[in-house]
Amino acid sequence: MSLKDARRILALAAFLISVFWLIPYLIAVSGYWNFYFTLTSVALLSVASAGVWLTFYIGRINIGQGAFALIGAYVSAILVTKAGISFWISLPIAGLFAGMVAVLIGLPILRLRGVYFAMITLVLTEVVRLAALALPITNGAKGIVSIPLPSELSIFGIVLIPDFSAIENPKLAFYYTACALMVACYAAMYRIVNSRLGQLCRSMQQNEELALSVGVNIAYLRVIIFAISSFFGGVGGAMFGAIAQSVYPSSFVVKDSIDFMLNCFLGGLGYVFGPMLGTLVLYFGWDLLFELGKYQLLIYSCVLILVILVLPNGLLSVRLSRILWARQ
């Protein structure tokens, strides 16, 4: 095992220990129970942002992740409330459904590049919101409310996940679930990027024509990647619905879609873990500026513009450039 591998494994261990043990411990000691809700949100938003990052990876600007999050949230909510299916089964179905929608929409629109693709995805969020308002199954503006908490998941009588309504601290349970989802999602992304699949995506992002001429089936690849991306969005949205125990057409709006994209920019498009860091910083940054009252949005926007100007490669590039600098 090389030094680099050892360092990676150490970093991963440190991350897992702090997420699953240190943070809950600190919250228990300090008594900031509301912190669970914040961190759970960050974890889930970072799952949806991961999907946006993946579409960036094939050279497409995706401002439509809110649409897939909303679709996921509704699918899960409808399955749980109307069909009585367990939340844990509805969760992957929500992701798959969002992925399927992505395939149908992606087939025609993924031919577009640059601002044209971005515009259509932007509209997508609004289209899904309006559809949710109009369709009978989504219950219009009233939304779907009082969704029961996730029930028990057991296989052959062995309880894998206990009934959330019977747990004394469902906030902690949601926190663990969200973090587990986030870890699984980023592990999958890491694998995609570091396998040949990632190479193929990069070849597409850099030169579609050349990729095509060496036999890469780019039409197929980009639909698959867009579907995976939307799967992440759907799963993230479904989990959000379960936590809030309600879904409205306005649960995910255009602003959310833009935020998902900003998370990627802020963290760094060149790094798999960029969107995770970006989500964390953006979410807390916004909250910290709350003290400034009516100037919150102004200062927030200015800081964002500055960050993008000064660090075009995202926050994670700071760390790398410092290492390079130290070496010289």
């Binding site: 694998r191 995609i192 396998s195 040949r196 699949l197 190479q199 193929l200 990069r202 070849s203 850099q206 030169n207 024509e209 050349l210 990729a211 095509l212 001429s213 060496v214 036999g215 890469v216 089936n217 780019i218 690849l221 698959i224």
Partner: protein, 263 residues
């Protein structure tokens, strides 16, 4: 060249119109196995359009392309590439943020046997693919004499190396026919001569080479046969010696100085 042998590629009455403009007008010729065939002509003669149609990057208005007697027009570009007809690009078109070796690894994709999910989960087929891609990549790089720049980023390479990389990418696909679009453009005499011998060695590997090129001196040294286009029409076809003395060709090039066209 036996007349009874089926040509590798048959171009039949290939026409492409862009609105009112006819870019290529009923062009027909054959490409024999293992030859170096150049397509020349003044700017706007329809050379690149021809190459794009031959690799299905552009739909034909009428006419067809046959590969070993089978029609390949209207197939998807990646299918045509998979059959072994591979084109490199006019502009120094590369994966600019990849290293030379990474680019060549990508270009092996035609021979991949594993599925996308196979690559994700690291299936046996995927692992054996990746082993053989690595070996092949190193072989191609050393064949072209560019092993020492294997880990350079493509965007940092000088002109001559970029072209070599372009050819390395083309060669990695294990093509039957390699279509090079202006491989000598922007090169000095020295670089051009290196490239000429490189292209010859590619042919000696058993690859049929087609070129679109402006550098007449290079074309005359390298080609077995030459096709001349002017305003979308084929005006001459033959060996370099035949082309140099062809009256139509001389007329088409009138206005350019004699040594520019190598006569």
């Amino acid at each position: 060249m036996g007349a009874a042998v089926t040509p590798l590629l048959e171009i039949r009455e290939l026409t492409r119109k862009f609105g009112g403009l006819t870019a290529t007008d009923a062009v027909s010729f054959d490409v024999q196995e293992h030859e170096i065939l150049s397509v020349i002509g003044p700017n706007g003669a329809g050379k690149s359009t021809l190459f794009k149609m031959m690799t299905s990057f552009l739909a034909t208005t009428s006419g067809e392309v046959l590969f070993r007697g089978k029609r390949i027009s209207d197939l998807k570009p990646h299918i045509v590439a998979r059959m072994g007809i591979v084109r490199t690009f006019q502009e120094t078109s590369i994966f600019k943020n990849m290293t030379v070796r990474e680019s060549v690894l990508i270009a092996q994709h035609l021979r991949s046997t594993a599925s996308l999910s196979g690559y994700f989960f690291g299936s046996r087929a995927a692992r054996s693919d990746e082993d053989s891609f690595g070996r092949r990549a190193d072989e191609v790089l050393s064949f072209l004499g560019i092993s020492e720049i294997a880990n350079e980023r493509a965007s940092n390479l000088p002109q001559g190396h970029l072209r070599a990389l372009g050819i390395a990418i083309g060669l990695s696909t294990d093509p039957v026919a390699l279509l090079l679009d202006e491989p000598f453009a922007g090169m000095n005499q020295d670089e051009t001569m290196k490239m000429v011998s490189l292209v010859k060695s590619v042919r000696d590997r058993g690859v049929t080479v087609l070129l679109v090129e402006h550098d007449m001196a290079a074309v005359m040294t390298i080609s077995d046969r030459i096709i001349v286009l002017n305003f979308g029409k084929k005006i001459a076809e033959g060996t370099p010696a035949q082309i140099q003395s062809d009256e139509n060709v001389i007329e088409a090039y009138l206005g350019s100085s004699d040594d520019e066209i190598g006569i």
